[in-house]
């Protein structure tokens, strides 16, 4: 899951960036409205954390232009303005949530998590595929009631698969979702990550939950694969 933070205060932006990255998100950041819009326009983000008072393009303008260009990315407004009018203006401009400064980091992360669930039409924080269960709030994975130890990157990949269960995901889609602009993934990094994840979550002898689609990418949790894991 990839998050874009657009905030002009260096300290705040860096703190939010660190907190989100430590929570297992791929994070990109931007200090100005113009640069932020340019990044957001790429469409690879699941959530954008947006400050309203920005040098250059203002947060509200940025949001309005994003919506104008039919981007459906969830946007969380982060601002010092807290009157009802300000909130209404922000939400009316197309924001999905609104958080007033100062805020608790935990709340910000929980809201980002909720926005990601909502964007993927998932209501619960626990996702189950046969005997495989993913707890998105605790970021833990269980198989047959036993905890599976996964690395943050592996978890990110699994969660991305789980959010798009049954869809065919290309290698570049997967790469964009789990690597931020700072990482420089090698060409076969997605294949290597999928290989590592398969080893941890699949039952020995049964078909893998992650099916390779030759020339197209991967599909997670097809009905047959889930059945074989029950």
């Amino acid at each position: 899951m990839r998050v874009l933070v657009i905030e002009d205060s260096d300290r705040l932006r860096q703190s939010v960036e660190v907190a989100l990255r430590k929570s297992g998100y791929a994070v990109d950041a931007s200090a100005s409205g113009d640069e932020g819009f340019w990044k957001a326009d790429s469409g690879v983000y699941d959530v954008i954390v947006l400050d309203l008072m920005l040098p250059g393009m203002s947060g509200i303008d940025l949001l309005a232009r994003l919506r104008e260009r039919k981007h459906k990315t969830a946007v969380l407004i982060l601002t010092a303005r807290d009157t009802v009018d300000d909130r209404v203006a922000g939400l009316d401009a197309g924001a999905d949530d609104y958080l007033v400064k100062p805020f608790a980091i935990d709340e910000l992360i929980a809201r980002v998590r909720a926005l990601i669930r909502r964007a993927n039409d998932v209501r619960e924080s626990r996702l189950a595929f046969g005997d495989l269960a993913i707890n998105t709030s605790a970021r833990t994975v269980e198989r047959g009631g036993k905890n599976v130890d996964v690395s943050p990157r592996e978890y990110m990949l699994l969660e991305f698969f789980a959010m798009h269960a049954g869809e065919c995901l290309s290698r570049s889609q997967i790469e964009a979702a789990i690597y931020d602009a700072e990482a420089e993934p090698m060409s076969n990094v997605v294949d290597a990550a999928v290989y590592a994840l398969r080893k941890k979550i699949d039952l020995p002898g049964a078909p893998s939950l992650i099916q390779t689609r030759r020339g197209m990418g991967y599909t997670f949790a097809t009905p047959e694969a889930v059945e074989s894991h029950e």
């Binding site: 002009d8 205060s9 703190s15 660190v18 907190a19 920005l54 400064k101 935990d106």
Partner: protein, 480 residues
């Protein structure tokens, strides 16, 4: 002392007292005068009746020819016989010996003589009657008739040569006293009735007239910080109260404006503090949540220190602003404006060089003004700092002194709009809406506050070609 006497002064009571004193005083005066007039009238009438009677008695005295005996037919006048309503008379000869007295007048009883010497005119005076009642007496001279032999026989005639006798007639004066008493009582009753009617009328009228004053007081008492939009009615007020209500309305408007601007300032200040507080909280929470990275944690603490330094600066400037409305004590002294200006510029030499700003300081080497050195330095530092910050690289700054106690700092070109010009003196204004970069946005607000303390003024002018001109006039009150 006059102040303590003023504490409980009430217009209503004061008006009531003076009006009442006037009315009752006039009434009393009129009553006394009227009584005196009636008293005189009734007494004169009473006296006239008395003297007529005395004359009638006198006309009945006839001396016989020998001059020793007389005829006095008082049998026909029963009031002289005695009894509870008896009247008295006494006739004396010219030598003051008693000539005759009424039957009611017993031997041994006496009647007081007139209190003053008798003239030709009858003399009236109050006496105590022989039976003890209060009475009124008249004393008069009269010539008795003398029996003379004429051709028609014996006839009573006047003899001018016959010496005059003195007649004193006294009668009960109680009917007169009663009448006078009635008049007095009637007057007193009238006075009392009129007095109470006047009190009632005055009180009613005063209450009615002063009601608008009470209304104003009630309304004034009901105004508090939440109802400053209230206004006193002016049109419906009596003419005397209209200017007061107008002034009160003006005052309310000014207070409302001040409160509004204070509220906005407080909201802005709180808003200003939000970002640094959010920074501190985020830094601290991240460091607490993921403490493994010692370097990151130390960096977070360093950042927190630097944010709190910014907050300190902000709060001390806010304090200055809240106390800077003419209450700062200043010391007027000759200050070298040229020196203050060149020092402010020298301190920023590096920035000027880095931005390649063309500087033109057109100030006489020594330019003395009378001002407070500390405040003037702060004002100049602020304006020079602003000019350098907002001049783009390659721009120019011109400092000139104008006649008298004023100077101008002009910088350009500028990307300020006329709209910015009207808002840039407000607290927390920055050209850039974002809240980062370490600037507080309070410089111009502070400059204005300092200048108001020094009774000076700041004028900002925007010119498309030359840029922004900030003109400071010190001692605007002296030149005015």
């Amino acid at each position: 002392m006059s102040e303590s006497a003023n504490v409980h002064r009430s217009i209503q009571r004061q008006l009531l007292r003076s009006l009442l004193l006037g009315f009752v005083g006039l009434g009393l005066l009129f009553g006394v005068a009227f009584y005196a007039y009636i008293h005189r009238l009734l007494t004169r009438e009473f006296d006239e009746v008395l003297v007529e009677r005395a004359r009638a008695i006198a006309s009945m005295v006839e001396l016989e020819a020998d001059g020793k005996r007389y005829e006095f037919p008082d049998e026909s006048l029963p009031e002289f016989h005695g009894g509870p309503n008896a009247q008295f008379f006494l006739i004396r000869r010219p030598d003051d010996s008693e000539f005759a007295r009424s039957r009611s007048f017993k031997k041994g009883q006496s009647l007081a003589p007139p209190p003053e010497a008798m003239t030709r005119k009858p003399l009236y005076y109050n006496v105590t009657l022989p039976d003890g009642r209060g009475g009124r007496a008249v004393a008069m001279w009269f010539s008795p008739l003398v029996e003379k032999m004429t051709s028609r026989g014996i006839e009573p005639l006047y003899d001018p040569k016959e010496p005059e006798m003195k007649l004193i007639l006294a009668r009960d004066r109680r009917p007169l006293d009663r009448a006078l008493m009635l008049v007095a009582l009637g007057l007193i009753a009238c006075e009392a009735l009129m007095g109470s009617a006047t009190v009632w009328l005055l009180r009613y009228q005063l209450r009615e007239s002063l009601q608008p004053l009470n209304d104003v007081a009630k309304l004034a008492a009901s105004v508090d910080a939440t109802s400053l939009h209230q206004r006193f009615p002016v049109e419906t007020m009596p003419r005397e109260l209209q200017p007061i209500c107008q002034r009160l309305n003006d005052l309310l408007a000014r207070i409302a404006k001040a409160v509004e601007s204070q509220k906005r300032f407080n909201a802005d200040a709180a808003h200003e503090l939000r970002t640094p507080v959010a920074e501190v909280r985020a830094l601290a929470e991240v460091a607490l949540r993921w403490p493994e990275d010692a370097d990151a944690t130390r960096k977070a603490f360093e950042e927190i220190v630097s944010v709190t330094e910014h907050m300190e600066r902000l709060s001390s400037v806010l304090l200055q602003l809240s106390g800077g409305d003419g209450r700062v004590s200043t010391r007027e002294e000759p200050v070298d404006l040229s020196k203050v200006l060149t020092q402010a510029i020298d301190r920023r030499k590096d920035m000027i060089a880095a931005k390649r700003i063309a500087l033109n300081v057109d100030v006489p080497p020594t330019k003395m003004v009378t001002s407070d050195a500390t405040l003037l330095t702060a004002i100049v530092e602020n304006l020079v700092g602003n000019a350098i910050t907002y001049t783009p690289p390659g721009g120019s700054i011109v400092c000139t002194t104008k006649d008298g106690n004023s100077f101008q700092i002009m910088n350009g070109p500028t990307n300020l709009s006329p709209q910015d010009l009207s808002t840039m003196s407000e607290p927390f204004w920055r050209k850039d809406a974002s809240r980062t970069g370490g600037k507080l946005g309070l410089g111009l607000a502070l400059t204005r506050a300092y200048l108001s303390t020094l009774h000076g003024s700041l004028e900002l002018n925007l010119d498309a070609s030359s840029g922004l001109a900030a003109t400071v006039a010190l001692h605007a009150n002296d030149t005015a």
